[in-house]
């Protein structure tokens, strides 16, 4: 067993886990934060994407032991102007159907809006290419990211 201490959604947590435990399993099985979904478990589908030290990473191919000491934010902990805009836009644009991919989509969307606020539709599609959705055909998700980026712009302009 390996003792891992990390900050999850602002709260410091310590857990003793087998070395083979992924960050995703630590979040889901030990901390009961089941918002982080596991799809492919080899880094392709993007459902498990969480912020690690401010950057989106795959929680299924990151060992909990490797994440020791890091600051993790899951879909449950998304907060701030960007996250609010992203959530509202996914709702307004109907950017989900079954919701399985949504945790990873929201984390990735927050990263896109924060890192590339002026991204074109084409760039948004490219940035989203590592998150698979089997329901929507992506159009509404791209709409949602575009809408969130505009909303954040408006907020910044109004300040």
């Amino acid at each position: 067993m390996i003792e891992v201490t990390l900050t999850v959604n602002g709260r410091e947590v310590t857990a003793a886990v087998p070395a083979r435990t992924s960050l995703a399993d630590l979040l889901r099985e030990h901390l009961h934060l089941t918002g982080t979904h596991l799809g492919c478990e080899h880094g392709v589908c993007g459902a498990c994407t969480v912020f690690v030290d401010g950057a989106p990473q795959r929680a299924c191919i990151l060992l909990a032991a490797s994440a020791d000491g890091s600051d993790v934010v899951t879909v449950e902990g998304l907060e701030g102007a960007v996250a609010d805009a992203v959530r509202e836009s996914f709702s307004a644009e109907h950017g989900l159907q079954c919701g399985f991919c949504t945790p990873g989509m929201l984390v990735t969307a927050c990263d896109i809006v924060a890192r590339k606020p002026d991204a074109s539709r084409e760039e948004i599609r490219l940035e989203l290419c590592g998150n698979i959705c089997r329901c929507t055909g992506y159009v509404n998700i791209v709409n949602a990211v575009e809408r969130a980026a505009k909303a954040v712009h408006v907020q910044v302009a109004a300040r």
Partner: protein, 273 residues
């Protein structure tokens, strides 16, 4: 899709890591970003009993400029660091351009240059790019330090010249010679996937060459020492001469694909200043 049991060791210095490698030999496996290794662990295609996680080794991060315009990159430099220009680019933009197309952003935030090279997959970007630019790879073990030309690094399918007790610590990339321009082409059916074909062209005033990643057919980067379209296609046909298959059309397609890929890299070099 859960890994088999293994021990996870976390050295914080290169010396510690190298000592652990000497101790565990073939049973040990170095984990850097883990973006290739952990999927293999999850699928139990890799079954090391000891994982030596070097992601905490500060010496492996960062870049230093070398005399003559080259740059020495720590093996733990992430793809995203190249994408975001957090490290200097010895090639005037090739490394930045290439890095932005590796996998997905979430992969690039964790995956590393050294990890990709040690994984020795010729359908990945770095082994082909580093061969093309004539980089050197620096490896260290309890036996000492040695340099391996990136062109000799990949020796077969997922087989590198890095010995089991050696740690890949840095990559030294020379500056491109004056007047040489780079071009790059990657063919994949979906952005972020491993390439079906990728090519790096280095184009000078009167000469140049192209390096091809055609990993489905040839497990090592292939040099095509010409910029002439017909000569490129002939060299590709030559390199893939042994390629056979039940579907003759597929074989013809593969030869054509790599020729076009190389030619597009040449044109990319000519098009962008």
């Amino acid at each position: 899709m859960k890994p088999a049991l293994f021990d996870h060791l976390r050295p914080t210095t290169v010396d510690e890591a190298v000592a652990l490698l000497a101790e565990h030999g073939d049973d040990g496996k170095v984990l850097s970003g883990g973006q290739s290794l952990v999927p293999l662990l999850n699928m139990r295609l890799a079954l090391p009993t000891v994982v030596i996680d070097v992601s905490r080794v500060a010496e492996l991060r960062g870049a230093t400029e070398l005399p003559g315009g080259g740059v020495r990159y720590g093996a733990g430099t992430t793809h995203a660091a190249f994408e975001d220009r957090l490290v200097p680019d010895a090639t005037g933009g090739l490394l930045h351009h290439v890095a932005a197309g590796i996998g997905y952003r979430a992969i690039r935030n964790r995956g590393t240059l050294g990890g990709s090279l040690a994984h020795a997959d010729a359908s990945a970007e770095w082994p082909v790019v580093m061969a093309a630019v004539g980089a050197d790879v620096v490896v260290r073990s309890a036996r000492g330090e040695r340099r391996i030309a990136a062109r000799d690094l990949v020796q077969g399918f997922f087989t590198s010249a890095v010995e089991p007790d050696e740690l890949l610590v840095a990559v030294e990339v020379p500056a491109l010679p004056d007047g040489v321009r780079w071009g790059f082409h990657k063919h994949a059916r979906k952005p972020g996937e491993f390439a079906e074909s990728l090519a790096v062209a280095l184009v000078g005033d009167s000469s140049g060459d192209v390096w091809l990643g055609a990993a489905r057919e040839i497990p090592v980067p292939v040099a095509l020492p010409s910029l002439d379209r017909d000569a490129i296609q002939a060299a590709v046909a030559d390199a893939l001469a042994d390629l056979t298959g039940e579907d003759e059309g597929e074989v013809r397609y593969r030869r054509h694909l790599h020729g076009v890929s190389a030619w597009r890299a040449v044109n990319h070099a000519k098009e962008h200043a």
